[in-house]
Amino acid sequence: MPVLVIILSNFNENKAVVDIKNAQTSTYKIESSLEQIISVSGQITEEIIGEFDNLIKNFENLANIFFKKFENKYFNQIIAFGAIKTTSEICKGLKNNLIAGHKSGENPIVAEKIIDKNYMSYIAIILESLGKVYDVGEINNEEFMSINESVRNLFKNSVQDKILEEKKVQFANKASEEMFLSMLRNFTNLKI
């Protein structure tokens, strides 16, 4: 039994490293394909959509690995699992956005937005930090900031770009919500 456990844990370890490397490769490939679309081809291809599928698959694998890895470190589990799943959702949104862009014939516009808002760069930073976290077995403050700052930027951009649909924050009391919102509309541009 212990042998099996060791084999399984080594397998998981190697798998995490492979998944991170594969995800990094996909990220770079997507980035250069997007640049190609903008400057040369003007066409969203099957390859780039397939690369997004690979990236999403790797993120889903990593979510499972990190969830187990930090089973006894609760806060680490929330950060790692939450960040990976959120990034994965954003990748799905980006993929759908590209498909929609292809259908509507807005190929370079969609590609340009992804490049201009640094989506792929933030994903690369997250992967880099996850690699370090995996090696050390702990999320230190530096990685905490690096991961969260990148996910926050991805999140903010993807809500603005309607890549990720954010649900409206609701108040329990409808009347107070409406009053609050009308006040905010009059005095502020606060987005809620």
Partner: protein, 288 residues
Amino acid sequence: MLPKPMKIFLESSVVLGAAQDKLLESPQLDGYIQSKFLQKPERYIYSRKLVEKIFELLYRGINLEPFVSRKVKEEVKNLVDNKTTMEKKILRPLRIDENISGLSEPDRRIFDITVYQIFIIKLPIFVDEIIDEFSSTFVDRHECSQIVDDLFFKVYRPLITRLKFLAQNFELSGVSEKEKESDPDYKEYKALKLVLQGLMKNSVYPFGFWPYKNFFDFMILSEAIFANMKMKRELVQEPDFYFISNDKIFMVITVSGMVYDKVSKIIKKEYGINVLNSKDMVEVLEKI
């Protein structure tokens, strides 16, 4: 005669509390997660009520101004960007551990991702947006540093000295617990210990050295004192100035029936500032 303008300085715990309370009602937390696994500390509820009340009064054209300072923004950023404080000050007070530990793995996954997205990702974005709606006052760092010294020596050092004196009486004297309870000074001792807890934790207490200049709460209050002095100099009509904080070091507390409000009274006397927590400030605003 027109009523005095109100200037309301909101400390970081109030802004954070208001944002947390609002996010606790996110539809993502709907159903059983909201009620069974997360709790709402009272200070969050009142902080949000306060922010809502301020907006309501502004809407009605009441002459008041909510504002923050550079240090408040800095402290909020420190809180949400630091792993340890994020866990200790934001997530721990919210979660109900005994219920969370009983979750099945699939439920735990849903819970983790929801908590992450709401409190680690959305909260800092939302707090920034709220802070942007308030005025931000300019402060002179040099003058504020002098105010911190003044604040410590006039308000807090006498209290620390008193606490040490009472500690000697009650902890080293061998007086029984029953005798202590009947001594009126013991209530004061317990109140002082509670109020000064944060400051003591950050200091080398037995040697009488307190690195109060590194104490964020002092720096924030000193910025408020500076802002009040500046407003008094510059405004035609002297405002009613309120410093709102949910931190123990500024709060009026009740210990075994005794109301301890010495800190706020001294600050009012020395600097003309009303120190209140969110709940008491809501009551003040309700009367308008």
